[in-house]
């Protein structure tokens, strides 16, 4: 077998960056033993790492439904120094609010594992009530830009390449007049530039806020989505010149759902990104990319639109991930209380099977309200686990005669590799047992120690940066893809790692979960394996590349070959 050094354009980028003062990075010396879950702890280091942020929902007692949606976060390397920085979205004061001004969106630069607020320096000014965010190099100039959704005009912060940003949403044509929640970039038409999908929620006006709740007792509640019509989502095709065109209708994705979550993923393995939208009280939507610039909605037919009993649920967050390592992207959708989160197994024939109950991820989620979610390998054993951020939306449940609690514990489902999961959050340290009003969740190895950390946003409260301690006891391999076109991202790329007969599949993806985005690096947990036998990369350009015998425990920057296919 040829080693990676022969005739391949590969650079070995060391995982260890500069050891600045205050660096919390630990050496990546994995120990043997696959099942190290007892040794893994998540520790909240948000404040300690310099993230002094409190989400402000603008509440005034008038129960604007805006307040319960919350806001998300993005890990993205805006300054190109190989570590993920953080953007946290914030709400804003609403009519009737009379307290001190709340905080705004914040940008934090990662400096060796600690964070510095550079919001003002970056020139970012929040213009309206914020919800979601996603990053991607939409203008192909080699740095990551940022799209932020708002109740009001959305913002497209073009990265100026010098640590500053400029909001060019208006010029680019993506201000989007509707109430936007989640968003995600992807090159759906495979023309080499990133397009943008924006999920929109409800027809709602602050000036006409209906009174909902128990009228006779005077207990006001946030109104349910049934009280409002939905708003159509928007697909913006990148024109290649810094502007976008709204192609929602012609692409066949015009629908008046009540969208909260979105994720791109090639679920049918035909080489182009498909799209899944989680809707709140209307059917979820699976748009199969036809490959000709249009989509076909197949959610119902393929079995991912509603619950197993045909009931429409209140979908919030969603993610794709191959949790059973069979080469097909599976799907998760988080739902409201008294509904199970939906875990769908991709059967590889265009259909999915609802395994929410049989996987043992459903029943435990029944009492909770789930939001942000993601498939990630927390213990590097080579099998994707599942995280779910929970938190209710009513802060007066007892008054309303409802069961449950406002603050709720988040979940971490450990993959047992037999089609089932164990919920083990109570074994992973006190920070994982906090009962808070969580919303978004973003994932990255922010401290570059070889295991995935979690950033959880909380409604009207501080976020939690859950540092993964011990996950790197399993071997790992992180891949940073550098496309040939010089773009700062390889969104849409697919990477398969093979060790013996086992395989793992990852995609580079913008936007996932709920209102949030993970870093663009892909990380494989390898358990006992000290190398990946074969790394197969399918670039967004269509090129294929294979690397063999890639040693574990490193972050590898892989550059796309400029011509032909990299051989074995």
């Amino acid at each position: 077998m040829r080693r990676a050094s022969l005739a391949l354009c590969v650079e070995l980028a060391l995982a260890l960056g500069s050891l600045a003062a205050g660096c919390r990075r630990t050496p990546s010396t994995p120990t043997s033993g696959v099942d190290g879950n007892a040794a893994v702890q998540f520790v909240d280091v948000a404040e300690a790492s310099g993230i002094h942020f409190t989400h402000f929902d603008g509440r005034s007692g008038r129960k604007y439904v805006l307040e319960i949606v919350g806001s998300g976060a993005t890990f993205f390397d805006y300054d190109g120094d190989a570590d993920p920085d953080i953007y946290l979205v914030n709400g804003a004061a609403l009519p009737g609010y009379e307290g001190p001004p709340g905080s705004t969106d914040r940008l934090y630069e990662n400096r060796g594992g600690s964070f510095t607020d550079v919001t003002e320096k970056a020139g970012i000014r929040q213009s309206a009530y914020g919800h979601g965010c996603a990053a991607g190099d939409y203008d192909g100039d080699g740095d990551l830009d940022l799209y932020v959704t708002r109740f009001g005009d959305n913002a497209l912060y073009r990265n100026n390449g010098n640590g500053t940003f400029t909001d060019v949403a208006k010029e680019a044509g993506v201000t989007e007049p509707n109430w936007s929640t989640s968003c995600a970039f992807a090159d759906y038409d495979l023309d080499g530039d990133l397009d943008l999908y924006v999920v929109n929620y409800l027809e709602f006006s602050v000036a006409e806020n209906p009174w909902c709740g128990l009228k006779e007792k005077g207990f006001r509640a946030y109104c349910e989505p049934n009280n409002f019509p939905g708003q159509p989502d928007a697909l913006y095709r990148n024109n290649g010149n810094g502007t976008f065109t709204n192609v929602t209708k012609e692409a066949g994705v015009l629908d008046r759902g009540k969208g909260l979550g979105v994720v791109w993923g090639d679920y049918d393995n035909d080489g182009d990104p498909d799209l899944y939208v989680a809707n709140d009280s209307t059917e979820n939507l699976l748009y199969r990319n036809r490959g000709n610039g249009t989509f076909e909605e197949v959610g119902f037919a393929s079995g991912v639109a509603v619950s197993q009993d045909g009931v429409v649920q209140n979908g919030m967050g969603t993610a794709f991930g191959d949790w059973n390592n069979d080469g097909w992207l599976d799907l998760i959708v988080t739902n409201y209380a008294k509904q199970m989160n939906s875990l769908y197994r991709n059967d590889g024939d265009g259909f999915f099977t609802d395994v929410s109950t049989s996987s043992r991820t459903g029943a435990v989620s029944y009492p909770e309200v789930g939001w942000g979610t993601e498939f990630f390998d927390y213990d590097n054993d080579g099998w994707l686990d599942i995280f779910v951020a929970n938190g209710h939306l009513h802060d007066n449940l007892a008054d309303l005669g409802q069961e449950g609690t406002y603050g709720q514990r988040n979940f971490l489902f450990k993959n047992r590799r037999d089609g089932t999961f164990d919920e083990i959050s109570n074994q992973l340290g006190p920070s994982m047992r906090l009962e808070e009003v969580s919303r978004g969740a973003a994932f990255a190895d922010y401290d570059l120690d070889g295991d995935v950390d979690i950033l959880v946003t909380n409604s009207h409260g501080p976020p939690r940066l859950l540092r993964n301690d011990g996950g790197n006891r399993g071997h790992w391999l992180a891949i940073l893809l550098a496309p040939a076109n010089g773009h700062a991202d390889a969104i849409g790329a697919r990477v398969i790692a093979r060790v013996g007969s086992a395989m793992q599949l990852r995609e580079v993806r913008s936007g996932s979960g709920y209102l949030s985005q993970n870093e663009l690096k892909v990380i494989f947990g390898l358990g006992d394996a000290t190398a990946v036998d074969r790394l197969e990369i399918a670039w967004p350009s269509g090129r294929k590349q294979v690397l063999e015998h890639v040693p574990a425990n490193q972050t590898l920057t892989v550059r796309e070959p400029r011509e032909g296919t990299a051989g074995k």
Binding site: E224, T357, S358, Y366
Partner: protein, 550 residues
Amino acid sequence: MPFPRRKANRRRFAGGGRWGAPLVILLLSAAGGFSLEPQTAADAYRDGVDAMRGGKTADAITLLRRAVELDPNLGKARGALGTLYLQLGRLDEAEEQLRRARELEPGLVQVSINLAQLCARMDRNVESIAIYRDVVRDHPELAAAHAGLAAACQRTQQYADAIASYRRALEIDPNAPESLANLGSCHEALGQEDRAVECYEAAIKKNPKLAMAQGNLGGILQKRGEMDRAIPLLEEALRLNPEFIGARYSLALVLIEKKDYGRAVKELEAVVARDADHIGAHYNLSRAYFRVNRPEDGKREMEAQRRLREISDEIDLRQKAAAGEPSSSQRQLELGIVCERHGRTRLAIEAYRAAVALNNGNAAAQQKLASILLREGRLRESLTAFQAALRLDPNQAVLHAGLADALRLTGNAEGAAAEYQAALRLDPRLSAAHAGIGTLFLQRGQLDMARAAYQKALDLDPQAHAALDGMARIRVAQNTDLDEALSLAEQALRIAPLPRYHETIALAHWRAGRKAEALAAIQLAIAGDGRNASFQRTLAQIQGGTGSGK
């Protein structure tokens, strides 16, 4: 982010039938044989009970009625008669007799239990629970009473009370597998699956023929992903009771999980054939059709499921509005209207009752309640409701006409005639009143008068289906223009699919010598209203071939 939905409970109560068989007091007669002309009330009662035991229902009714005629205060005779009516589904008559029996002889425990069961059948669960509580208070040693109370509580989702009562019943009689199974279903409803499994397993151990326990246990195992354990239980449940929809649906989900889509299609088709409103079955059938490459069928089921969901969502919204304002009679009325519009009759009745209970001055609710009860053949209740509605608004012609219909159907022709006239005094153009008068004339054999009244009704409203049917019946009675009779009856049926119109069609076919068609039509009538004595008589006539026109 809504209020949580209630899951549809597709589980059955144990007991061999949806309502359980009423317990019957059996006093053994020393001697066999009886006379249909007994001399004393006691003899008539004894012979009537013997006839019941012998399955001679018609004779039993005759004899027990005779006993009541001879001694109106013979409580046990009324009790037995009421029980018989209950078994036959003649609920109004059953209620009259059982209530009177209870008044006369409050110590007849079984009468009280049967009356409680009757109230449950009529969705008067609050009253049912109250009667059971009385029985339990007076006879705490009776396991059946505790079990009955438990079942009544279970029907109204008072699961904690139901569990307590089932447990008490089982303490008295530990060998009651049905109570064990029902206890299991209460635990299941509360999400206490482990306890539910224990109860079902214990019930099956005592009685392996308990379909409900087999099926419900299989359903839990299916949800847990234990397919191989679920299958034999579900198959056994269906072998014992092929009508067990819940078990069939769970089996279908197992088959889908095992990728046996062809068989899943068959099972789901059977479910929707029995329960056209089963959202989950339509959904999974749609999915299964797509899997077996029948996309058109899949799309059809998809649309059916979506339509049902829209209805369900609309009702859900109204239920939440009512829950948000629990003392609002208007919200309950709005809920009832939506339920009625979508054919959810039981829910509509419940909502209208609630509206009236919250405000008995809600004239619209009273009217709606009266009309729907009449349509459902619950005549005694509709009479009460119409009278209440008229007290609130005596100048409503339609109320007088409705009351008249109820009186007519209960055999009070004179009262009916007076009310039809009252309706016409208020509104001479009320087609329904003219049609009702026509029917009174028809019943008296005054066919020309009947024709004139029906024609008047049709002149005012060409869509007056009762008048169309009446015109058809006149032709049948005169044995003329039978094809025209058929056409009129079919037109009536298209306007309003009432079972009675199937009977008219049956009679027209039968008169024309078309026995097969006649039988098919009368079977449709019986399917629509199995308790209708007239339909049974017509069936007997057609089968016996007596009195046909040819």
